[in-house]
């Protein structure tokens, strides 16, 4: 039983990471209708920035904030420079562009920061494991879950209580009507991409120190996050969070208990996606089925 609970906690911790990145995917999908295959690599770049800053001696918290701020600017620029010219193109072209971005970012980090694995990432908090009963709860889990909770509250406040959040929701729902009301749609899209990039940066700097920083660090995390977003529904932030936690827990429990799936645990997220989509194509919390792409 305690083993089960330990795995459950681990799953929730990983799930919090998947949920954060899934939130970033949902943010971009809702504002621009695009499935951003480069989301993970954007977070990867942010994490390299974080590593670079700490390597230059910046305090961890300052480095995190600096990486998030630069990621925000970078995300907004990506929207303006790379996405805007093709925003009305065929979905296939959009897939190609985000994949081009994926390839470019993945190799740029290697050129810019070296392709060796970085192990000297400082942690933002001490490593610790609590053992209430026989259940192990690591500080990682608590920090990740706490981060997710804070992010959710902040996003909720942003979207429900501020004018810019209202404008972003208006753009997501009907960009034409928003434009006619004087909302600067282009700036909102840049803001959305910037926000998503900053969110990805936060997830990256918190999770990557646990697994080591190299060019492939974010790829399987991105796959699990896609699973989370699809499971919850691509237009639903709540769905992204719930989906992330489900995917994380399912992964942890499968690894522990289903030995037949050793080495092919990735079956879990895709099995979940497929299973849910058979029954409910719009995902658990989504309202619209996704017809683009």
């Amino acid at each position: 039983m305690s083993l089960f609970l330990t795995q459950l906690m681990n799953g929730i911790g990983n799930g919090a990471v998947y949920a954060s990145l899934a939130l970033a995917l949902v943010l971009i999908f809702r504002t621009t209708g695009i499935l951003n295959f480069a989301q993970g690599e954007m977070a990867l770049y942010s994490t390299y920035l974080f590593w670079y800053f700490t390597d230059r001696g910046l305090p961890v918290v300052v480095a995190i904030l600096a990486a998030m701020a630069l990621s925000f600017i970078g995300g907004a620029l990506v929207e303006r420079v790379v996405i805007r010219p093709v925003e009305h193109s065929s979905p296939l072209v959009l897939v190609i562009v985000t994949i081009g971005l994926f390839l470019a970012l993945n190799s740029i980090v290697q050129v810019q920061f070296g392709s060796d694995i970085k192990t000297n990432l400082p942690r933002a908090y001490p490593k610790h494991t609590w053992r209430p009963g026989n259940v192990q709860i690591s500080a990682d889990t608590l920090v990740l879950v706490g981060m997710l909770a804070v992010v959710c509250v902040l996003l909720y406040l942003l979207f429900q209580r501020t004018k810019i959040g209202l404008a972003m929701r208006a753009v997501a729902s009907s960009s034409e009507s928003a434009r006619l009301s004087g909302v600067p749609v282009g700036q909102m899209l840049m803001f959305g991409w910037g926000l998503a990039a900053a969110l990805g940066a936060l997830a990256g700097v918190l999770v990557i120190p646990q697994i080591g920083l190299q060019a492939s660090s974010m790829q399987s995390i991105l796959v699990f996050s896609f699973a989370a977003a699809a499971l919850g529904g691509f237009d639903s932030p709540v769905g992204a969070v719930v989906g992330g936690l489900i995917v994380g827990v399912a992964e942890a429990l499968t690894t522990q208990y289903v030995h037949a799936l050793n080495g092919i645990v990735l079956i879990v997220p895709f099995g979940l996606i497929l299973g849910v989509l058979m029954v409910r194509p719009q995902g658990l919390f989504g309202r619209r089925t996704v017809e683009r792409v």
């Binding site: 004018k163 209202l166 404008a167 929701r169 208006a170 997501a172 729902s173 009907s174 034409e176 009507s177 928003a178 434009r179 006619l180 009301s181 004087g182 909302v183 600067p184 749609v185």
Partner: protein, 236 residues
């Protein structure tokens, strides 16, 4: 009366297809002007051209600004509100949020008071203030779209087929309200409408559009008396 909107040689095209072939018309301050025409005559495109939503050339002067080539949000900012065809509401936002988006560009402190004011004009909206706009009936959505446009305190409102898809009784109520706004508030309007009877009822002048060109113009009384207009648009 001073000229509020002056349009000359207005051309617009979708890609290679030219839809408007050089329109000239004016809207004076406080006037309600109607544009009549069959399907495909270019009525909607005319409004979209004024709002910067299609490729446009020619001259459009509005309240001291030249607006050809400006972006929609800039045009909205200088005082032209556009109620697009077919429920221009933002369906995922609540009624109250739709109204607040209407005031997005305003920096004054009277937004809440204005919301109350449009609730008085359209009482059905107040009852549904916290519901998502997508759940409203067609008539309510049209009222919301108009109220949202008015929240920006525009100098000119462009209305695209406000009667489309509404029950006759709802339409009549809507046009009565629009007429009152024009008479009592002096709100300038440019209305595109297929239902010529209704439109001529509230407008003071009108233009008839055929395949992208203006073929007849005059006061609404003159238009209502014109044989061609009567046969083509009034069904008599």
């Amino acid at each position: 009366m001073s000229v509020l909107l002056e349009v000359s040689e207005l051309r617009a095209s979708y890609g290679a297809v030219r839809v408007l072939h050089g329109l000239d018309f004016v809207v004076n301050e406080g006037e309600a002007v109607v544009i009549l025409g069959a399907n495909g005559a270019g009525k909607t495109t005319t409004l979209r051209a004024l709002s910067g939503m299609v490729e446009t050339s020619g001259h459009v002067h509005f309240d001291g600004h030249s607006i050809v080539g400006s972006r929609s949000e800039q045009i909205s900012r200088i005082g032209i509100a556009h109620v697009p065809q077919g429920r221009g509401t933002i369906v995922d936002l609540t009624v109250a949020e739709n109204l607040r988006i209407g005031a997005y560009r305003r920096r004054d402190r009277e937004v809440a008071a204005d919301i109350e004011r449009w609730y008085d004009v359209f009482p059905k909206l107040e009852a549904r203030a916290d519901q998502q706009a997508g759940n409203l009936s067609g008539g309510e959505q049209q009222m919301l779209a108009i109220a949202r446009a008015l929240m920006s305190r525009p100098k000119l409102v462009l209305l695209d087929e406000p009667s489309l898809g509404l029950a006759p009784i709802v339409t009549q109520e809507l046009f009565r309200t629009l007429g009152e706004l024009n008479h009592t508030e002096g709100l300038s309007m440019l209305i595109v409408e297929q239902n010529a009877n209704l439109a001529l009822g509230i407008g003071s002048r009108g233009y008839v559009l055929e395949t992208g060109s203006i073929v007849v113009s005059g006061t609404t009384d003159e238009l209502a008396g014109d044989d061609g207009v009567r046969r083509a648009y009034l069904g008599v």
